[in-house]
Symmetry: C2
Subunit: 276 residues, 2 copies
Amino acid sequence: MKRHPLDQALDLAHSDLQAGHFFGATSPDYWNMVGPFGGMTAAVMLQAVLRHPDLLGEPVAATVNFAAALGEGAFEVLAVPVRTNRSTQHWTIQMSQTGADGKLHVTTTGTAVTALRRETWGTNDFPMPEVPSPSAVEPMKIGPKGVEWVRHYEMRPIIGSIPSRWDGSGEASETRMWLRDAEPRPLDFAALMALSDTFYPRVWLRRATPVPIGTVSLTTYFHTDAALLAEVGTGYLLGRATGQQFRNGYFDQAAQLWSEAGALLATSSQIVYFKE
Amino acid sequence: MKRHPLDQALDLAHSDLQAGHFFGATSPDYWNMVGPFGGMTAAVMLQAVLRHPDLLGEPVAATVNFAAALGEGAFEVLAVPVRTNRSTQHWTIQMSQTGADGKLHVTTTGTAVTALRRETWGTNDFPMPEVPSPSAVEPMKIGPKGVEWVRHYEMRPIIGSIPSRWDGSGEASETRMWLRDAEPRPLDFAALMALSDTFYPRVWLRRATPVPIGTVSLTTYFHTDAALLAEVGTGYLLGRATGQQFRNGYFDQAAQLWSEAGALLATSSQIVYFKE
């Protein structure tokens, strides 16, 4: 049986050297123009935590910093539970890759918090916007050649689709879209981490100008547990992303991901380098 | 001449052992109920980066994870530039404190990105809300006894002040307030980091119920450079914070800080534990 491309991309072999030390490789399925899709790199970082033998609970927060370009091929990930409390666990994560000089270099840093969660009072103060149902929205055309990862997501943009003309005419930076894995796969935490980074750069939308960009840091908060993920299953998520401030080479993006039933599953922020 | 309490709280002595290794101590001026004000701990973490002899550029992003309670007294901070590129630098940061067992334990983890920034196109997609001027808003009464840090900020809440009755009547989780250091001090990056954590817990406002809470992870993005900070000087900032999702023991908060002139200086997110 053929494995789902996301499961292949998340595949990590546990080393014998140290608990939480894993070997993996970049996936051609989730290739971006000049490196892997950052959301997948973030998902692999989280996966190392989830695969650790001493894991306590489920993810609450994860931050991933893209320190250097990740090249095609093998990498290592080290996830360390630096502090384990009664109901929370704090992680540091590093991804490294052997460089042209034959030495191992850090490409990606991160932290995560996992926790045993208990039922409490709760409410959603950021309700899902009113939007047409997924079937009423056209799927996005496949992106530019070489951007393989986009083919592995089904994206149905409602507002803020990729500009059809790069004529500098942009006026707003908000996107709303239905999205899920193109090949159905039940939602899990690693998939949700990747999905939180599927919004194309806000600066392209805001300016209708395709300047060079690169995400520098991504933080995702999880407002779900395994039971709620199971309810979502292979269903659509509504994703919303908007730029906040663009200034001197960096902009930040705030994003939310709701289940089709309106549960706010994840909230996410990122800061992105842009040229010019 | 008496030093500003914030400068005293940020005071770090560089150890001879390793670049980026510092000794500091908690400040009674910024004490919270059972430990230091988390914003000051975050500011000290960033300060270790800013004091590092190999620092490149200025802060773009910082994430601080509160792994364990920090006790009164001495602590150590280690800031490591794990990757230095041409115009960006990626940092890991750890704070440790000697425990009752005589051993050093990690209390706080973090990452930061600093960068040399260049002038580019820019825009603000999250304009400052229209609010009355600082002089038209009453300063907040001093908080409960033992919460020393609040006395060192001048806060003028416009909406979403701390509930005057804890009667479970809350309906919204948004606060807007003018704020600055109570004793005037020109704004810098460490002060801005601390200011991004000055909003009292959203869950108290939303429920008008003072349940136990603790910030677990805080991420702040900086949309300013030293020149813009100098323009702000000792002026007021408008702070806005709102809850997004409250569920099973955790809620997240999104915050923005504008200069009085309307420049969006920082955007921030945090996820907070709450009981019940």
